[in-house]
Amino acid sequence: MAENCAVIGVGQTQHDSKRIDVSQVGLVREAALRALEDAELDWKDIDALVIGKAPDLFEGVMMPELFLADALGGAGKPMLRVHTAGSVGGTTAIVAASLVQAGVHERVLTVAYEKQSESNAMWALSIQLPFQQGVVAGAGGYFAPLIRAYIRRANAPEDTGIRVALKDRLNALKNPYAHLKFPGITFEQVAQSPMLWDPIRYLETCPSSDGACAMVLGNAKAAKRAPHKSAWVHATAMRTEPTQFAGRDQVNPRAGKDCAKELYAKAGITRPRQDIDCAEIYVPFSWFEPMWMENLGFAPEHEGWKMTYEGATALGGDMPVNMSGGVLSSNPIGASGMLRFAEAANQVRGLAGEHQVEGTRRALGHAYGGGSQYFSMWIVGDQPL
């Protein structure tokens, strides 16, 4: 019933703590123009826009897509703006893909961004609302207790998180777009970095970044005309569960497991670790890697940390994870999810440069948001399904 959808162009900005050289307009255009160039297309070749970003309070503009649409060739076109918290970049890509899959449009430009240096993202994240329990000590303070619970449940070695951070930061050195780069980084440096929210250390934490990501998605006809190899969308899935309810497992959320299950079923994947060649997943604090390895079914419960330990998730391992350096290296919140999806696509297209996993035929893009309650995922492959 659904049409095939292909990623025919990918673009992203140079991610940095403060892109003072561009306005929000300049930021999104940088990514969008690169995606168009990658697909050898012009603004007029695009039928619709799907824009994603996280809370508007981060930039101090209500519904900024309204003023940005012009800059993205949007006048006279349909434009949608998705917002599903941290997973938004992923959800945005899924909505864009569905426009092609539904046969509504032939070529869709999708852009996700965050310019956290404008307005004050940290303030927006921790606004103390009257009558409500505040988020004590930010996102780190929220997730650190969950990580402690994971360590206890899995009996995981305490330095697992350090190993993840080291790996992702080494990978980032191979990604020209990454925000945080620590040349020559060592295990000791990560281990000795200040403890922020025990057990999370400074170098195990994501940055706050300005950045944007864009993709051009097209149908089979558009893919045929594309200059580079396409990444075909095999499956997409989304799941939501309530933030807090009695008995909720926030460490290994069912929404994530169910989302992956549907995704694999649709993509014809029965053995995730074998059938998927590499993955870009949303890891804002290092320990989420082992946690998501279990949640995604790459490792049995309580054994996700073994994959890190064995080097399975390193660039040379059998299931490379976050070859781009991941969210730990660049975190423009609204774009982070789409960066995962786009990096997965570029792996399949053979366009990941220095952080390419050779021979990638199928890759997973994953994003999550809120209190680990929103999940968006996609599988892309080098052939239509």
Binding site: P55, D56, L57, M63, A75, P78, H83, R239, T240
Partner: protein, 351 residues
């Protein structure tokens, strides 16, 4: 294309200030009613999508608490747009077109009374060139009204008549907020609020929520006596800067209506999301609606204007008229952004 229909609609009574209930408490009965009326068990709804705005709610991630009203367990396939619920309906419609779901729950909510709406909407402007001017929503609308009057395309009397008709028709709508008999002459004798707009030309501030269930083909037919089929749905955006546009016309509405096939058969009624009286006149012209077409039998946004939901309510109201056999073919319109910057048109038909 799959056949998709609106099979149910529910809404809260709209009020100036909802003091008794939180968003979740407002949504709970509305979502419950929409699902119940759809005849589709909650567990079988394939997709959920909502529309809301953090700036209206005065907090980041405002939509997250709304999930509590869904009883999202086991986990559900769900998405959210930072747009009027009409666009959430569009996303859900696309989902069904892909075959990823056969039914969807769409809802939207807003408590504009929490803030000072015209000022909040100043934030909905280009932050580099327009926001710093501090121009509010009513002033921008007034600029548009002035352009329309100066072009000789309407008179203040025409505007007052829209106000009068809307609130008179709203008397028959149990959910409407502003209803009653107003005399055109009396309206015109009142001072301008922000010239050339008078208070009556402006929408009320409304708190409220609405929900709609849409379903595909045979599922819709099996559950709903008279589904309101979505024969066409399209949306378009125009340049943001008011100075870049001719504010007296709405080409995005015209284009969206064309793409949605609005004119392929006669319409019985049109629910237009025109928060200001002069905007209804612009839209009627943009849609080339014949005089026989009933406009806003619900009273429209001039009778109740729940931010982020008013567009979805137009679709719901139009669908309800079809469900009730009050109409055979209807057009519903939704708008976002100042001065009708972005517009959606949905054409509904009963069999």
């Amino acid at each position: 294309m799959r056949e998709v229909a609106v099979v149910s609609f529910a809404q809260t009574p709209y009020v100036r200030r909802e003091r008794g209930r939180s968003e979740v408490e407002m949504l709970l009965p509305v979502i419950g009613q929409a699902i119940e009326r759809s005849g589709i068990p909650k567990s079988e709804i394939g997709f959920t999508c909502s529309g809301s705005s953090d700036y209206i709610a005065g907090q980041a991630f405002a939509f997250v608490s709304a999930v509590d009203a869904l009883g999202a367990w086991p986990p559900i396939s769900e998405s959210h747009v930072e747009m009027d619920g009409a666009w959430a309906l569009y996303e859900a419609w696309v989902k069904i077109q892909c075959g990823h779901a056969d039914s969807a729950l769409v809802f939207a909510f807003g408590r504009a009374s929490m803030g000072t709406l015209p000022e909040t909407l100043t934030m909905q402007l280009d932050p580099y060139t327009l926001q710093p001017l501090g121009v509010d929503a009513v002033s921008l609308a007034a600029l548009q009204a002035r352009a329309l009057l100066d072009a000789g395309l309407c008179t203040e009397r025409d505007m007052a008549e829209v106000a009068m008709r809307s609130r008179r028709d709203a008397k028959r709508n149990a959910f409407a907020q502003l209803k009653g008999d107003y005399e055109v002459a009396k309206i015109l004798s009142e001072p301008h609020l922000i010239s050339p707009l008078r208070k009556h030309d402006c929408p009320p501030i409304s708190d409220g929520a609405a929900a709609v269930v849409i379903a595909a083909g045979d599922l819709a037919r099996s559950k709903c006596r008279r589904p309101a089929w979505i024969r066409g749905i399209d949306h378009r955006i125009e340049p943001h800067q008011p100075g870049f546009r001719d504010l007296t016309v709405s080409p995005s509405t015209t284009l969206a209506a064309h793409k949605a096939g609005a004119a392929s058969a006669p319409l019985d009624l049109a629910e237009l999301h025109a928060p200001f009286t002069h905007q209804e006149l612009i839209l009627r012209r943009a849609l080339a609606l014949p005089a026989a077409v009933r406009i806003n039998p619900s009273g429209g946004p001039l009778a109740a204007n729940p931010m982020m939901a008013a567009g979805l309510v137009r679709i719901g109201e139009a669908a309800q008229r079809i469900h009730d056999r009050d109409a055979g073919r209807a057009l519903a319109h939704a708008t976002q952004g100042h001065c009708l910057q972005q517009n959606l048109v949905c054409v509904l038909e009963g069999e």
